[in-house]
Each structure stands twice: as C-alpha cells, then as structure tokens.
C-alpha cells in the first residue's frame, strides 16, 4: 500500500511527464479500439435497415443505387418502373408489395409516395395528428417537423425536379395530417404521402379548380387538394403504367422469397429484385478489408508508441539511480525500490488504459447518432 502511495506521489510530483506518458498510452490503445467500435457500429447501422428490408424490386441498374435510394432516400438516379408490378405481386400472393415513389422533394426533404403499409412495416407511429387519409395529405418525419416547425394542419410545398423545370411539374401544396415519432432512421427526415399524391405532383392526376377565382391570364401558383375540389381530381391513363421508383416486397415466407427472387432473374426481365442485406454486405466486405489494413497500421504505430514509452521509463530508471541509492540508504529494501518503480509504470499504463476505455465508451455512446447523420 505504501509503495503504491509513494508511486502515486511521485507521479503527481512529475505531473507534466506523467500526463505525457498517460496520453501516449491512452491514444495508443484508444485508436484501434475506437476504430473497431466505430467500424462495428457503422456496419450495424448500415446493415440494420438493409437486413430489415427483405426484398426490393426496381428497374434494372445498380443494385447499390436501388438500395441507397429506397432505404436511405439518397438522391440517386432511379429509373422508373410501372405501378402494375404492385398489382401483379399482390395477385401472386407471394408477399406484400409496398410501392415507393421517390422522385420529388419539398425543400431538401424527400417526399416518399407510398402506401400506409410502409408506415406499418417500418413501425412508424404518429405522435401528433393522424395518418394521411386522402390525396394531397402527408405525414412528416420527426426531424423534418422539428427543423421546419411543422404540425398537424401545416402545409408543405413540393418543389420542381430541377430549377429549369418551369413548364413541367406544378408544385403541390400538401396538407400535413400528422407527425411521426422519431426513430433515428432516414424516415425522420422524410415526408410520406400516398403514392397517388406523387402522381398528382407528376401531373398525371389533377383537379379542376374554380377558374373564376383567378384573373384572366393568371395561373394558380400551386396545386392543392381541398374539400371543395377533391371530387374533381382524377387521373388520366392506366394506373398500371404510372411510374414508381421501387417496391419493398415482404415475402409471405422463405419459399415465397426464393420464388420471387427467381422470378426476376430471367435475362429478359427489365426489373431486378435484390436483397438489400446482401447488397450492403457486399459493400461492407470492401470496407472490412480497408478496416483490416487500417487496424494493422494502427497496431504497428501503437507498438512503436509502447516501445517509446518503455524507452522513456528505462531512461527515467537510469536517471533516478541516485534516488534509488538514497532510498536504500534510508533503509528501504532493494526489492521495495524496484517495486516502487514498477508501480509507477503500472499506474501510468492503468490510467492511460482507463482513459482509452473512457474515450472508447464516448465513441460507442455517440457514434450511432454521428454515423446516422454522416452515413445515411
């Protein structure tokens, strides 16, 4: 106990040197540990949503873009596919099809045209207001609501696909019927409406407002579905040919999933069915290889740092020869003196390790939120 006390007093006396050594030990241990935690959580974050989505159907193209677009609502190029596929999947009774139309945005927030099944599938609950019930209604994710101060009864305006789309898509002023509870997923950053509402934005459906309200030559600044004009809204053309971006498919069982995957593997198929978990797994396999390289490099750097710490301690041991002799002359046993020196080194390593552990805990605690914002 006395030895430890003396070692502690010595380290406190040489504060600057001790702090430096503790920091070197802490950083050496923290870097690989922190990286491992960060990589592990990043992997979990990326795969959790992908693994929770059994199958995705989309137009043939990049499976990764289909996954990133459909799961994380990234602004990636997603060729359109016909809505008729939803009907065909329903008729096949192999699974529940959930359409996704992801072409439009309100400010920078993605508008997700879907069915209520999506909210059930992702277990999204309403904390204020109600689900969307008709054309022109929407519910907003928690983050969108917070950032834009939206509540049940607010309005959100869709924006044109690009700034030069003057003659194209007419903005739709949507009624917010509810706010979703926060989930810490990309759903918090999206606006959800019926897929048909996105077809109204696309100009495939429209109503007939009372034109007498407008001055000659005046054009309504946006479309709006109201109690007065909802009956006049209608769609032109066959709904089966209307565009959607992707379909989340929830197969009834494993056998159905296999049959569904096989169905779209035909070479002449213009569609692809993917398992997002597999796609993300392939992406992460590349990341894992990079992670291994980084870990090897960090381990080598760590070893060098520890060798340097050892060297510092050794030099310090030599430097303190007079001090050791003085302690012996005072009556301390040689073994006690060596024990004292060893205790100092152990204390430095333990405090350094504790600091590294603490930092790793901080990373473990905060990284999911940071990763969510950064990765998705």
């Amino acid at each position: 106990m006395h030895t430890l006390y003396l070692a502690w007093r010595y380290l406190l006396h040489h504060r600057f040197k001790t702090l430096l050594l503790v920091l070197v030990v802490a950083v050496t241990l923290f870097l690989p540990a922190g990286l491992l935690v960060l990589a592990g959580q990043g992997e979990a974050e990326l795969t959790a949503r992908a693994n929770a989505t059994p199958c995705l159907l989309g137009a043939k193209g990049s499976p990764l873009e289909l996954t990133l677009g459909s799961l994380y609502f990234r602004n990636v190029a997603m060729p359109a596919m016909p809505y008729g596929e939803v009907d065909q999947l329903e008729e096949s009774k192999l699974g529940l099809p959930i359409p996704l139309m992801l072409r439009y945005r309100s400010q920078d927030d993605p508008i997700v045209g879907t069915s209520l099944d999506y909210l059930r599938f992702r277990k999204l609950t309403i904390i204020e207001g109600n689900h969307f019930t008709r054309l022109g209604d929407c519910v907003v994710g928690a983050k969108v609501a917070k950032q834009r101060g939206l509540h049940s009864g607010s309005r959100v305006l869709s924006r044109p696909v690009d700034a030069f789309d003057v003659a194209g898509v007419h903005p739709l002023n949507m009624r917010v019927t509810g706010v979703l509870a926060a989930t810490g997923t990309p759903d918090d950053e999206a606006i959800f409406c019926d897929v048909r509402t996105t077809w109204v934005i696309a100009g495939l459906g429209h109503g007939h407002d009372n034109v007498t309200k407008l001055q000659p030559g005046q054009m309504a600044p946006y479309n709006e579905v109201t109690d007065d004009n909802i009956d006049s809204f209608h769609f032109h053309g066959d709904e089966a040919t209307f565009p959607i971006s992707a379909i989340v498919v929830v197969p009834t069982d494993e056998k159905a999933a296999t049959r569904l995957l096989g169905r779209y593997r035909k070479p002449d198929s213009t569609l692809q069915m993917i398992e997002p978990g597999v796609v993300m797994g392939e992406l992460l396999a590349t990341v894992v290889r990079l992670k291994k390289l980084a870990l090897t490099a960090l381990t080598l750097v760590g070893l060098c740092s520890l060798l340097l710490v050892g060297l510092v301690l050794l030099l310090s041991y030599r430097q303190r020869q007079a001090e050791r002799q003085f302690l012996v002359q005072l009556g301390a046993a040689h073994s006690r003196v060596y024990m004292l020196m060893l205790s100092e080194a152990v204390l430095v390593i333990v405090v350094g390790a504790l600091l590294a552990g603490g930092l790793t805990l901080v990373v473990w605690w905060f990284s999911p939120a940071v990763l969510r914002a950064w990765l998705v």
């Binding site: 689900h131 048909r196 006049s232």
Partner: protein, 301 residues
C-alpha cells in the same frame, strides 16, 4: 355411508368456477373487424363469419354504395380494420382518393379481371371549361351469380387467412352459401330463358353482367327511377324501340308513377330488378335476388 366434506367442498368449487363467466383477455374477446363496401359482400361476409368477425358495412341505407364516399373520420377507422373487402372492378370510385393499407384490402373480383365490363358509351361532361370523356368499368359484378360465387369464394379465402383457426367452420358455411347461390343462378337461368329472343330495355346501364351471363337481349337508357323522363328522353326511348322492340322496361327501383304511366303508353311493362348494392329494409342480397327472379318470372312468362 360416510361422506368426506372436503370432497363436497372441492366439487362445489369446481362447479362454481366452471359455471362462472369465462375469463377472457382483451385480445381473445376482440373480433377481427371486416369492412365491406356493398350488400352482396356484406351478405357473404355475414353468412361466412358466423359471429367470429365484426362485419361493418358503412354505407347509409339511402345511398348507392357505388356513388358513396367515406368521410376522413371513417377512413381513419377503415385504416385500423383487419380486412377491407372490396367489390373491385372500379366499383369503389372513392378508393383512388383515399389512403388505405394495401395489406388489408381484398379485391373480390380480382380472379375474373378479364371479365370486367367497360361502359361502352363514355359519359361526356365538362368541367374547368374543357370537356372530358370518362368511360370506366361496370361495377355490379354480382348480378352474374356465377361471378357472385367467385366473390363469395374470395371472401371465404380472406376470412380464412385472417382467422385460420375458424377455417373449417368458414368453409362449411361457404359450401352452404355456394349451394344457395348456385340454386339462384339456376333459377335465374331458367327465368331468363323465357326472354332469350325478347328484347328488353333497362333504365340504367347497370345490368351488363346479368345480360351477359343470362343471354338477355338488353339495351340500356340512363334514366333515374325517381325522375319523370323529359321529352328528349322519351324521344330517345322511342328511337330505341324502333330498332329494339322491347315490351319490358327494367327499373332499379320502383319508378315514379308518372314515368311508369308514360312508358306504359309506349307499350312497355315496368318491372323492378334491384341491383342489390345496398341492404334492403328486410332481408338481404339473396332475398332481393329471389324477388328479382319472381318479378322477372311474372313479366316474362
């Protein structure tokens, strides 16, 4: 004989506990809620459910379910339903403007999509200063009782999926219902054979499936039973009679007396063949169809 009092007490306790009300959890007592959108589906669902399901037919009795639309509060309730049985074939026009989960919707006519009739003549109207022509599918699929049987089968499958533990009972009831519908189909076939060569006029274009199934030589007007036909409408009827010399005019409901007199003057007998979209004050779809058969029999014999 010595009687052990402890045994008597035990038997009494068993008796008391056994006779008492059954303790049920809320999930056990909750019946799956099934929404239907017309009388035939209500009738089929009620017949097959046998008390195991709560069947909700939300359309008021004085409204035609084909023209009805639910309020937002009702849509919210329907969003919570376990099952929504739809007629399909374009019957639920409101569905395109309402948001309901796909998982709970069952289109009972999806098995015979290719048999869905389309309105030949598009009804042209103008709105927003421009004329639009809207043609669409005909909804009254059940007037072909063979199609009605297929719809009843779809109801059976949906209820079984929803409550597999009641499958046997549902299938048993379904067999009985199918037998009743088949009997009606046979009767209807026999009655309409009386009119194979005779032209018939319908006041409304809702009998397409009936005419196709039972080979009825039918042409349709666009008259409402409550309204007195205008000069133009009578002229249209006269023009039709020149090429289609019918002796019978089929109405959806009891016609306005003046209307009945006017068509009688043209040599037409008015009969009521209800399309059975909504629940009658007495009886159900099956009893209405029996009445239809009787009315046809009286007029065509």
């Amino acid at each position: 004989m010595e009687v052990d009092m402890r045994w008597i007490f035990l038997l009494l306790m068993v008796g008391v506990l056994g006779c008492g009300p059954k303790a049920t959890t809320s999930t056990e007592s909750r019946k799956p809620v099934v929404y239907v959108t017309n009388e035939p589906l209500r009738c089929f669902a009620e017949r097959l459910a046998g008390g195991d399901f709560e069947i909700v037919f939300p359309v008021p009795k004085d409204e035609d379910p084909e023209d009805w639309k639910p309020e937002a509060a009702l849509i919210q309730k329907m969003q919570q339903a376990d099952l929504i049985l739809l007629n399909g074939g374009g019957y639920e026009k409101w569905l395109k403007k309402a948001s309901l989960p796909l998982a709970t919707q069952v289109d009972t006519s999806s098995a015979f999509k290719e048999k869905i009739l389309q309105n030949d003549a598009a009804v042209t109207h103008s709105h927003g200063g421009k004329e639009h022509a809207h043609s669409g599918p005909v909804g009254q699929t059940w007037l072909d009782l063979q199609l009605a049987i297929q719809q009843a089968k779809a109801v059976e499958a949906a209820l079984v999926r929803l409550k597999p533990e009641a499958a046997e009972a549902i299938r048993e009831r379904s067999k009985k219902l199918e037998a009743e519908l088949l009997a009606l189909d046979t009767e209807m076939e026999a009655v309409t054979k009386l009119a194979t060569q005779k032209p018939i006029i319908a006041s409304h274009p809702v009998y397409g499936y009936w005419a196709r199934r039972y080979n009825v030589n039918l042409k349709s007007l666009h008259w409402e039973p409550d309204d007195v036909p205008t000069e133009a409408q009578l002229a249209e009827l006269n023009k039709l009679l020149a090429t289609h010399p019918a002796k019978v005019l089929v109405w959806e409901d009891e016609p306005n007396l003046q209307a009945a007199e006017l068509v009688k003057a043209l040599g037409l007998t008015s009969i009521v063949v209800r399309q059975c979209g909504n629940t009658p004050d007495k009886g159900d779809f099956l009893t209405l169809m029996k009445k239809n058969i009787s009315a046809l029999q009286a007029a065509l014999k």
